[in-house]
């Protein structure tokens, strides 16, 4: 009886988690948690396959299609490959956010891993932190590969607005990882997390322009895309590539999603 009742985590537990993360968690505990999560990311390689493998593979395939290397008027004289680089970058972050973060966390809660952690001096919040750090590392590897392969093998030029590009990437990462944490918070099982993530994935990628780039979307659809996390991410990244600092609207949309998902995740996350 007592265990079947799912008790929402009281706010004071999260607060004490923050306190524990701040000072009481020995550095070695956090370091070892990160190493552990990295090991598990290799043993259960959803993040590696979908977050790194697939976007990099798509870049190599697109780069080898002759038409993708020819400038077209449709894209204002840019090559389709130039248009797709930001889309693939956004894809990396959404893949990690949707398929690498919520599944393991929901499974941890389902199996009692977080419950087990809650009895130690280290708060289960440290597991979340370690998860996020490992996924940021995966993101850095994937984005680095895409930029290096794109510039060296396929003649792409580096972003004209490097700061704007990095800012847009950072905000996209926060928004999409926040979405992942929110999915982990609402899903009761690992399977449910996968299902919810899958339901988000296709609309997000479609509105990011994975199938129909934003430049050739019907105006109405592009207006919708402007207000989705990946649509605004791609717009901000494409602007930075071609030398325009990302628009305030695109950045604010990302900030708003980051805040909303982050708040929802913190409010709804329970350790059991």
């Amino acid at each position: 009886m007592q265990l079947s009742l799912r008790e929402r985590v009281p706010v004071d537990r999260i607060a004490s988690g923050r306190e524990a993360l701040g000072e009481a968690v020995p550095r070695r505990a956090l370091r070892r948690l990160i190493v552990t999560e990295a090991r598990l990311a290799v043993r259960e390689p959803a993040g590696l396959v979908w977050g790194i493998g697939l976007p990099v593979l798509l870049l190599v395939i697109f780069g080898n299609i002759p038409k993708f290397n020819l400038p077209t008027d449709k894209f204002g004289g840019e090559r389709p490959l130039d248009i797709y680089l930001p889309i693939l970058c956004a894809m990396v972050l959404s893949m990690l956010g949707l398929f690498s973060i919520p599944g393991p966390l929901a499974t941890y809660r389902e199996q009692g891993v977080l419950r087990r952690m809650a009895t130690t001096p280290v708060s289960p919040a440290a597991v979340l932190a370690a998860q996020l750090v490992v996924n940021l590392m995966l993101a850095a590897i994937a984005l680095g590969l895409i930029l290096v392969i794109g510039t060296t093998a396929f003649g792409l030029s580096a972003p004209q607005q490097p700061f704007g590009f990095l800012l847009a990437l950072a905000l996209t990462a926060v928004a999409l990882f926040g979405l992942g944490l929110w999915v982990a918070a609402v899903a009761t099982t690992g399977r449910a997390a996968q299902a919810i993530a899958g339901a988000f994935f296709f609309p997000l990628e479609f509105l990011a322009g994975l199938w129909v780039p934003r430049q050739i979307m019907p105006a109405g659809l592009r207006d919708v895309s402007d207000y989705t996390p990946l649509g605004s991410a791609v717009q901000a990244l494409q602007d930075s590539m071609s030398g325009t600092f990302p628009s305030a609207r695109a950045l604010l949309v990302l900030v708003a999603y980051a805040a909303a998902f982050g708040y929802g995740a913190v409010r709804m996350f329970s350790w059991e």
């Binding site: 009886m1 007592q2 004071d12 009481a24 505990a29 070892r32 552990t36 259960e44 009895t119």
Partner: protein, 319 residues
């Protein structure tokens, strides 16, 4: 809370006073009070759903009590210094696990890093007979091995108190025996053990003192012998009568509380001085008692007697 109101004697390591925990409309734990002394094995026993786990979850700081005072090693398990409590209290709970693909060695080293003054993981693995499973992923362990790893995790922080919840549920008899020996070994290391169980043989063998909980309340409290005594206590005599007699002959005696017949044998329970009165009365009626067995009812009997109201609607016919 009520800091400083309760006096903590040096002997007492856990104080639970008037604990109450409510889930919605269900009162899981009500007015539960007990004290655990340093170095003992203290049992929290009772039927499934009695509120045992909720009680130890509150003691472990996992749940916030709705009322009552808790002191673990003199500290509030959810107060400012809660992490000191967690550092010194090792907890093994039901329905808790570690990541499926993590190896035994990795799990232990990870958990060792959480504590200020951890035990040596390899020494612990050797003690718990898991040395040859060092490189085995958690999901490939047997039930008994998972339980032993769980005990190892409860001990990895070199705790002063170990909370062990339903350790032997689902284990085969041999694994249970081994687990019992392990708990005794833990106690012999000077660790105070708070043991939750619904197995009375386990409680009888391991516990120095215990609290019997039913429907969220403590119904008996003390050493296993005292609790057994409280629940009717006294003696039970079984014998084979040489001829027929009326039960009323015996139930009329002030020393007798119950009379039951099992085939040709009669089982009588009652006060300590039951035997003499019984034999004399039968003798006066011309009945001899053969194959007399005398026993002291154990915890199992106390458990059934004290939690009987659950089954009372179905067994009314027997009186």
């Amino acid at each position: 809370m009520t800091a400083g109101v309760m006096s903590t004697s040096p002997e007492t390591v856990i104080e639970v006073d008037g604990l109450r925990k409510v889930y919605g409309a269900t009162v899981a734990v009500d007015e539960v009070s007990f004290e655990v002394r340093r170095g003992e094995v203290f049992g929290v026993i009772g039927p499934n759903g009695a509120g045992k786990t909720t009680t130890v979850e509150c003691v472990s700081g996992l749940r916030v009590p709705d009322a009552g005072a808790l002191r673990v090693l003199g500290l509030d398990p959810r107060g400012d210094r809660a992490h000191h409590v967690r550092d010194r209290v090792g907890v093994q709970l039901q329905q808790s696990a570690v990541p499926a693909r993590l190896k035994v060695r990795e799990v232990l080293w990870l958990y060792a890093s959480f504590y200020e003054n951890p035990a040596d993981p390899d020494a612990l693995l050797r003690t718990l007979g898991l040395m040859e499973k060092r490189e085995t992923p958690y999901r490939k362990l047997s039930g008994g091995q998972k339980q032993r790893l769980s005990i190892a995790l409860a001990l990895i922080g070199n705790p002063q108190i170990a909370v062990l919840d339903e350790l032997t549920t689902g284990l085969d008899p041999q694994a249970r025996q081994e687990t019992w020996s392990l708990i005794e070994a833990v106690r012999d290391r000077g660790v105070t053990v708070l043991l939750v169980t619904h197995f009375m043989d386990e409680a009888e063998r391991l516990c120095d003192r215990l609290a019997l909980i039913d429907e969220g309340r403590v119904v008996a409290h003390g050493t296993p012998a005292e609790v057994a005594e409280r629940a009717g206590g006294g003696k039970r005599v079984r014998f084979r009568p040489s001829g027929p007699f009326d039960d009323a002959l015996l139930t009329a005696l002030p020393q007798v509380s119950t009379v039951a017949r099992h085939g040709s044998r009669v089982s009588v329970t009652g006060r300590e001085d039951l035997v003499n009165a019984l034999i004399l009365t039968l003798d006066r009626a011309g009945i001899a008692a053969h194959d007399v067995e005398l026993e002291t009812p154990g915890l199992e009997d106390a458990f059934i007697a004290l939690t009987r109201h659950r089954a009372s609607t179905t067994s009314n016919a027997e009186g």
